[in-house]
């Protein structure tokens, strides 16, 4: 050992050996930079694609299932409160809702495969419950049409299945996939620290090599090292700009999703309130009216949290005012003169004055508009992040490979001079 140390020092002290060490160092760091850059950008591409292609669509479909099923629940009950002529379009709307939910589940099933979480299980559970629910409603209608009270038991059970079985699973699917989208966007826009550190180290090694070459050979510029420095800088700056842009788009997407969340929840609650109105008339339970009253408060809170759209708040206020006779018992009016059953039916079924929709549907339409608007922006930002990242992993690897070759060439020329 004591022998090899001075020998080693002696080797490095020689100029050509010093250049050789720089060549090896630059090659190792350049390779490391290229590999970490490729890995970092490839992973970000995957996360961006995951957010744009799978999660975003799953989120949308979960939302579609939720709305369609809550809507179907309301229509299934409203349809037994009116005569056959008026029941026909309501039953058709129920069937349209079920078809929409089935279609959404079909897409969700394809998108949930390989997500690595519980999405596929949740979609399977929803697909299992949907036909059960539809059968219960259809039997309930048949029995009710025949004037048999058991029909109400079927409809009550169907409604309970939606509220305790289907909607919670759809809500969980939507919440988890929204979180996954946000997580994927954050990952896609995360600073690639290992790549940056390796890149800066490579640049430092290149500068040191250039200074060493200048000092020992009196040649000011080594073209190979200059080119390598340029290529490394381009790789570093390019990656920083791209990731920075993706991060910016991710933030836009997250902001939009943060608005979509409460709006979607408000719309879901609106559909549930629509169903609760009919349930209170058909098979009331203690606390139902207070629950409905609470739903209106919650909707207001959610819409306000999502920016307080004036049109939505006005539609909600109109609906709440219209439902006053139904809500009276929950506001200390349990002993007030109750409206007649048929008046209450008209309150919840008849369209708003001068409109084809009910007050509840008006709010639903406005919230749907807002949700689609914000969702489109979120999808756009996720898509553009994905497009921006495309092929940058390979580009960084190629740039760094070229930088290593260029540095090796530049130093190689100087090293060869000592052996000729």
């Amino acid at each position: 050992m004591p022998v090899s140390r001075p020998r080693s020092r002696g080797v490095v002290k020689r100029t050509e050996h010093g250049f050789l060490v720089f060549a090896v160092l630059v090659a190792a760091l350049g390779l490391l930079t290229g590999l970490t850059g490729w890995a970092a950008l490839d992973l970000r591409q995957q996360r961006a694609a995951d957010a744009a292609d799978q999660r975003a669509e799953l989120t949308a479909k979960a939302l579609d299932v939720y709305r369609a099923m809550a809507d179907a629940d309301a229509h299934s009950l409203n349809a037994v409160l009116v005569n056959a002529e008026r029941a026909t379009p309501l039953r058709q709307r129920f069937r349209d809702d079920v078809s929409a939910a089935t279609e959404a589940l079909h897409v969700a099933s394809a998108r949930s495969a390989g997500t690595g979480d519980d999405a596929a299980g949740q979609v399977r559970e929803l697909s299992r419950l949907l036909p059960l629910y539809t059968r219960l409603v259809e039997v309930g209608w048949t029995e009710s049409d025949a004037g048999r009270p058991v029909g109400i038991s079927y409809l009550s059970n169907a409604s309970s299945l939606v509220r305790t079985g289907i909607l919670p699973v759809a809500r969980r699917l939507h919440a988890e996939q929204t979180e996954a989208v946000v997580r994927a966007q954050r990952d896609a826009g995360a600073v690639p620290w290992p790549f940056l550190v390796a890149g800066v180290a490579t640049l430092a090694a290149l500068v040191a090599a250039q200074r060493s070459v200048t000092r020992r050979t009196r040649r000011r510029v080594n073209p190979g090292l200059v080119l390598a420095t340029g290529l490394t800088s381009v790789a570093l700056l390019g990656a920083i700009v791209v990731v920075g842009f993706v991060d910016g788009r991710g933030e836009v997407g997250q902001r939009e999703l943060a608005v979509v969340g409460p709006l979607a929840e408000a719309r879901n609650l609106g559909r549930e309130a629509d169903e609760a109105e009919a349930r209170i008339l058909i098979f009331p339970s203690a606390g139902d009216v207070s629950e409905l009253d609470g739903m209106f408060d919650d909707i207001e809170e959610l819409v306000t949290a999502a920016g307080g759209d004036e049109a939505a708040l006005a539609a909600l206020e109109a609906w709440r005012g219209h439902d006053e006779p139904l809500l009276r018992p929950a506001r200390g009016g349990a002993n007030a003169e109750p409206p007649a059953f048929t008046d209450l039916v008209r309150t919840i079924i008849d369209p708003a004055p001068g409109d084809a929709d009910t007050f509840g549907q008006r709010l639903d339409s406005r919230l749907t508009e807002l949700i689609e608007e914000h969702r489109a922006r979120a999808v756009d930002s996720t898509g553009s992040a994905k497009a921006t990242l495309a092929n940058w992993d390979a580009a960084v690897l190629l740039l760094m490979a070229a930088a290593v070759l260029s540095a090796a060439f530049g130093l190689g020329v100087r090293i060869r001079e000592y052996y000729t």
Partner: protein, 352 residues
């Protein structure tokens, strides 16, 4: 050189440690909802417990003449006068075939109990438009009466706050001491009595009584004497090491027919008037000849703080017994009920 190697090693470590988080692994939460059968009605229970025994609160009623009478000879008092002025509110069931059923399209109610409500209103001089018949919520129907016990319960449980207030409850309420104790109400003289029976699917052979239903599921309303009886049968079978029936309890007895039609239960054990309504709705069922030894009586429930109204209800029921209209209503609504399942309309206990 060592420094260079250390830098490379540090960079390698950074690469490993600072990589973006991988996609989330499998979620801990299960895919399925908490209930294994979300398609079953809320409260469905295959292991119900016997209800706690009640005290011995008196369930006797009031003699119509045991208080002030009005110029028309009817019981009188502040509540009677209030109802005459403001209208009568009666809490009813909406799904009791033959007892009290609502046509959801027209809103019309019909059945034996509706006949009684209309008769009380007529005796009070309350016009039809001032007679409100209100469908009472499951789990809260007796909280609709204005009593001290109910007011205290509503103060504690806000869910009960929206139960509409009524003057009378005529909704197949069985006379029990528990209800008197819990709600501070009083019962009128009974207008109907019945016993429990057994409804099964047609074609189920070898079954004549609950004990024959070993290994099968029998549905009853949760917390009812019927459910308790089935629990007792199962416990006896268990003690004798014989195959047991499975008592099933549901929040709303009317769910039992649906559960039998869907094949979740094999039989329904309830009062025969309810079962008669079920059999009428589903001809594929059979009401067996079996009848329980116990009888239950249904009466009008009135606030324990409104004796004048209770006496008035009794007076009207007495009239209906006396002029035969109660018998006639019973025969009209329950025609087709097998004779051995018919129990006479309870007599006025004060005339015995």
């Amino acid at each position: 050189m060592i420094k260079v190697l250390a830098l490379v090693a540090a960079l390698a470590c950074l690469t490993a440690c600072a990589a973006p988080a991988a996609p989330a692994g499998p979620a801990a939460a299960p895919a399925s909802p908490s209930s294994a059968h979300p398609d079953l009605p809320p409260g469905y229970d295959e292991a119900p417990e016997r209800t706690a025994p009640c005290g011995n609160a008196p369930t006797d009623s009031l003699d119509p003449a045991a208080g002030p009478l009005g110029p028309d000879g009817r019981p009188d008092g502040p509540n009677v006068r209030r109802v005459r002025e403001e209208g009568l509110r009666v809490g009813v069931s909406q799904t009791g075939q033959f007892r009290s059923k609502r046509d959801l399209i027209t809103g019309e109610l019909s059945g034996l109990e509706i006949d009684i409500a209309k008769r009380v209103a007529a005796a009070l001089g309350v016009p039809d438009e001032d007679l409100s018949m209100i469908g009472l919520p499951t789990g809260g129907r007796l909280y609709s009466l204005d009593t001290g016990a109910n007011r205290a319960a509503k103060a504690v449980d806000e869910r009960l706050g929206d139960v509409p207030g009524v003057d009378l409850v005529i909704a197949g309420v069985s006379v029990t001491a528990c209800r008197v104790e819990t709600h501070g109400l009083r019962f009128s003289r009974p207008y109907m009595q019945t016993h429990s029976g057994l409804l099964v699917r047609a074609g189920l052979s070898g079954v004549t009584r609950p004990e024959d239903l070993a290994g099968r599921k029998v549905c009853s309303g949760a917390g009812t004497t019927n459910s308790d009886e089935m629990i007792d049968v199962r416990d006896r079978q268990r003690a004798e090491r014989r195959p047991e029936l499975v008592p099933v309890a549901v929040n709303d007895t009317s769910d039992c027919l649906m559960l039998m039609q869907r094949g979740f239960v094999d039989a329904v054990y309830s009062d025969v008037l309810i079962l008669h309504g079920y059999r009428h709705q589903d001809p594929g069922t059979v009401l067996l000849d079996y009848r329980s030894p116990l009888t239950t009586k249904a009466a009008v429930a009135v606030s324990g703080e409104q004796d004048d109204l209770l006496r008035f209800a009794n007076d009207v029921l007495d009239d209906m017994r006396a002029d035969g209209s109660l018998d006639l209503a019973y025969d009209t609504w329950f025609q087709g009920l097998a004779r051995h399942h018919r129990l006479p309309v309870p007599d006025d206990p004060y005339r015995r």
